[in-house]
């Protein structure tokens, strides 16, 4: 946790996973590091750190973005959702469960970003086709799975969420 407050630091207030949180950040601090280091939520991963892989994907005002390429100060007074917000009362989100059931992950490094992109997709389009899924996750790289099981998992989740309208 950072405790310094001087001219070079600013107070950044965000609503993250429904909870209001504050922290000090230098303007050059990237949102991914603010979330991980300042707010202590390490579910969001940093892969490439060069805007290429999507491992750092979080929802900023409900849109998936690469948090390694947004300044924390740009997110001031905005809403952020990360992978930690998906599970409720120890029950996995249907997408998390579907990734588990369909072997949608191997090493798991891309998974938090992949899940957040998928959450945003199913919010907008509850019944995506395979090609819509592939288009939506095209900014999220996975080095392990070959994507087949990720696409299966998202399709599976979309069917299950249709049966039991969940609180996404």
């Amino acid at each position: 946790m950072e405790s310094r407050k001087d001219d070079t630091h600013r107070m950044v207030t965000v609503t993250i996973n429904g909870e209001m949180r504050q922290g000090l950040a230098e303007p050059r601090k990237l949102l991914a590091y603010f979330i991980r280091e300042t707010l202590g939520l390490t579910g969001t991963h940093v892969g490439c750190d060069t805007t290429s892989c999507g491992a750092c994907t979080v929802l900023l005002d409900n849109e998936p973005v690469k948090s390694c390429t947004v300044l924390a100060v740009q997110a001031d007074h905005h809403q952020i959702d990360t992978v930690e917000g998906l599970e409720t009362d120890n029950v996995l989100h249907p997408l998390q469960q579907a990734f588990w059931d369909n072997h949608g992950l191997q090493c798991g490094f891309c998974t938090p970003g992949m899940l957040m992109t998928s959450v945003a997709l199913l919010q907008k389009n509850p019944h995506p086709s395979e090609s819509e899924i592939r288009h939506a996750i095209s900014g999220n790289l996975c080095r392990c799975t070959g994507y087949v099981n990720i696409v299966k998992a998202i399709t599976d989740a979309s069917h299950k969420m249709q049966q039991e309208p969940a609180e996404v």
């Binding site: 303007p27 990237l30 060069t50 805007t51 994907t57 390429t69 740009q74 939506a136 900014g139």
Partner: protein, 292 residues
Amino acid sequence: MFPNAFEYYAPETLDEVYGLLEQYGDEAKILAGGQSLLPMMKLRLAAPSVLIDIGHLANLSSTTETAEGLTVGALMRHKAIETGHWQRYPLLGETAPWIADPLVRNRGTIGGALAHADPAADWGAALLALNASVEIESRIGTRRMTLEEFFIDLYTTALEPQEILTRVVIPAPKTGETFARYLKLERKVGDFAVVGVAIAVDLTSDGTIANAGIGMAAMSGVPLAAHQTTSILVGQHLTPALIKEASESACLEGDPQSDRRGSAEYKHSMARIFVERGLTQILQQWRSTQSA
């Protein structure tokens, strides 16, 4: 990775932006979507000492359509254009899904893409095909110039340090119906174009080309408008023979560089093929609207 330290301002009005730009001149950089600037700052390829975040200027993120044309605010995100309805400007919706990847499109803006002036950028090619102009503002006033005047060289535009690009103005099609295609060769999803070709053609009911525009990405040091080719097209009937002639002409207008994305020869060939393919698709689409 993190950028060099900088002072950060998030002005709420254009007047404040003018003031900051005057005060800091070329020490300052405007921050729009940050999808080109922040990666460059993280790699220390850019190290401005002041960042002026224009994300709070709400009136730059909308569009207005009149009989004369469409005005697009500089802060319109690629994603908003991708999901919008642009009946008279189909090239916008054709092009947007090709830019970067969905995550980058959620942040990147049309104004940022033009100001960045990458010769391989997709908006450069598309907006040249649409014969667009840009509005540039500073304390002194507003000036308007065509995109061709705006793009000066590789990553270099007509913007002065105290100026901000505020709007893109696309003239309305005058006669007939507009048909458009954006064809892009990319090595992988989200990469810049090896070659990109944007085509917009206004066809009258008898198949005469009332107006045409062709813009090319990665075919020169700046995004390129293929004027000679469009002059071959305008006033003629769109036929396979004319398409052949136009595609031979268009690829000669470019002067691409060999680089890691492909050889100059390959890019020339792909530009020719894309012009031919795009115009052929337009001809087929026009024919099907005629028989319907």
